[in-house]
């Protein structure tokens, strides 16, 4: 079946291209309904990736956060119309030790191959997780970024020592909000402190025990562990601040993406005996667990509704541009595209 794909061919320029979906092979075809724009999409859209990267990867359909409805399943295991979240990571091998999202051979939507800006998306059946009826679809649209937070916290619980009385989160954006919220729900009785630069954004973290401007951190501040959700070059500053204030043998979870290497105060990492680990992307297990987490904690979904930003009804290619441009200039929140293209 001809499939219409809306690919970014160069920064700020989308074009229509076509592929053929072979319906006779094992495939589940999903019609996207709600898509969410990520900073990674913006780096392609604005041409902020290195020229050689853009040259290698474009043309490519953007968006790796999204949900849709099943329109066809060659095996009939999914019911037509079922609402599913699409998993962008696509492993091509199995490994008993290394998680699917860290296998170097895995492909990722809107990075290694086409993302979800398509008329219909042909998906491998193990790349779909059913969504519960009645879930807020605008929140469900950004399940992928939420699953990355969820995944990082799961790993944190494996890697960190068990004194988790006070945890700090650096950052006041969407990733910081989601990660902080999940920490509060997954680690009972934790004291949670937020460190950011925007007081308005931090005022949204109502579930936190304290919020601090990074330029006004009390001298006696101390915490057991920390999450860095800042990204870009500022992540270096954030990580070094964390190193200054964290208690010995604490664990630092890095989540912010930087295009360039950042310098870290390794002397103090050694002296304090710190553990630093990075997390990126997520796998099927994380998606399954977060969907269950949402079902068990509906108030979490309610909190996440706060970071739904502008919602665009997308019917024309010009609407893509409107959504992406608005996303650049947003004060905060996740930009959602209701996919009617």
């Amino acid at each position: 079946m001809f499939n219409t794909i809306y690919r970014l061919v160069k920064p700020r320029k989308f074009e229509t291209e076509f592929t053929d979906i072979d319906l006779n092979q094992d495939v589940v075809v999903v019609r996207p309904t709600h898509l969410s724009i990520c900073n990674a999409d913006q780096r392609y859209y604005q041409g902020k990736r290195a020229p050689e990267v853009l040259k290698k990867k474009l043309p490519m359909a953007l968006i790796h956060e999204g949900i849709g409805k099943v329109v066809y399943d060659s095996k009939g295991e999914f019911t037509e119309g079922e609402c599913v979240v699409m998993i962008p990571n696509t492993p091509v091998e199995e490994d008993d030790i290394i998680a699917e999202n860290y296998l170097r051979s895995s492909k990722f939507r809107a990075s290694g191959f086409d993302g979800f800006m398509q008329d219909n998306v042909p998906m491998r059946r193990d790349r779909l997780v059913r969504l519960p009826d009645g879930i807020n679809k605008e929140v469900a649209a950004f399940t992928e970024i939420a699953s990355v937070s969820y995944h990082a916290i799961s790993r944190f619980q494996r890697f960190s020592h068990e004194r988790r009385n006070h945890i700090a989160v650096w950052g006041d954006g969407n990733l910081a909000f989601i990660t902080s919220l999940f920490i509060k729900y997954r680690i009972p009785d934790v004291k949670l402190s937020i460190f950011g630069i925007d007081d308005d954004k931090m005022s949204e973290f109502t579930f936190a025990d304290g919020t601090y401007h990074v330029d006004e951190i009390p001298e006696d501040m101390a915490f057991d562990h920390a999450f860095e959700c800042v990204g870009n070059m500022a992540s270096g500053t954030a990580i070094n601040q964390i190193i200054d204030y964290i208690n010995p043998e604490g664990t630092i979870s890095i989540l912010g993406v930087s295009e360039d290497p950042v310098p870290i105060n390794t002397r103090m990492v050694l002296e304090k005996g710190l553990r630093i680990f990075g997390s990126s992307r997520s796998g099927r297990k994380d998606f399954e667990e977060i969907v269950q987490f949402y079902a068990d904690n509906p108030e979490v979904v309610n909190y996440l509704e706060r970071i739904v930003g502008e919602v665009f009804d997308v019917r024309e290619i010009e609407d893509f541009t409107k959504a992406f441009e608005a996303d650049i200039h947003k004060a905060g929140g996740k930009t959602i595209m209701i996919w009617n293209k």
Partner: protein
């Protein structure tokens, strides 16, 4: 209840090929298979009715069996002598098997394989709300009119002109009643189904098409269609 109605009545003289143009291949499959796949996968259809000349019915069924073997919501029946009679055959089929109450038909050329999910969905919505709709795109070329084929008689305002595509969609019962109310003279000047409504002064809503929703009519179109496929195979 919604029905896809695929009009595959063409015998393909303009294409200059042996068989009707809908059976020519784009990529690895006949054009009609690409088109019908789009409709068969649209979950809002109770049935996709494909209408062909009598002599091509079995051939069409064989083609579908080969390429669409696991889809059970497709039926192939005989078309009529002209386009609107073909549509009426589909309406009769629906009436006999399902009844016409609330039936909406989305009629589409078998040789327009690049139709999108949005176009189908907006057709159903518009036909359901307004009774009839046509899929069009704004005219890009200046259209001129000539009474005698020798000299221009009129150059209409391009901003008011659109190029007709398909689907064209209707409430089936209303379409049937309107068509049957036409005189034989009125039927003779029909070029497409929407004109049935226009002649009778009934409104036809507009759905925005796509420039790439092309009709494969000439050999040149087949080349364009092959070029549009440059995106390659997915999955």
């Amino acid at each position: 209840m919604n029905f896809g109605v695929i009009l595959a009545g063409g015998v393909g003289h303009r294409m200059g090929a042996d068989k009707p143009k809908q059976f020519l291949h784009i990529g690895e499959k006949p054009i009609i298979v690409h088109t019908v796949e789009k409709f068969a996968l649209y979950r809002g259809f109770e049935k996709v009715i494909v209408l062909t000349p009598e002599e091509w019915i079995e051939y069409t069924k064989d083609v579908f069996e080969k390429y669409l073997g696991n889809m059970d919501n497709i039926v192939v029946i005989q078309g009529g002598a002209v386009r609107n009679e073909t549509i009426m055959n589909a309406v009769r089929y629906i009436e006999e098997n399902y009844g016409l109450d609330d039936a909406v038909i989305v009629t589409h050329d078998a040789v327009r394989p690049f139709v999108t999910y949005r176009i189908i969905e907006e057709n159903i919505a518009a036909a359901t709300e307004f009774g009839a709709c046509d899929t069009v795109i704004p005219a890009t070329d200046t259209i001129v009119e000539s009474d005698d084929g020798q000299a221009l008689s009129c150059i209409p305002d391009r901003s008011k002109l659109y190029q007709g595509q398909t689907p064209q969609s209707f409430k089936a019962a209303e379409l049937k009643a309107t068509y049957e109310a036409l005189t034989e003279e009125e039927k003779e000047i029909l070029t497409d189904a929407c004109k049935i409504y226009v002649i009778k002064g009934k409104p036809v809503h507009i759905v925005k098409g796509e420039p790439f929703n092309i009709k494969v009519t000439y050999p040149y179109d087949l080349t364009v269609a092959e070029t549009l496929m440059k995106g390659g195979r997915d999955v």
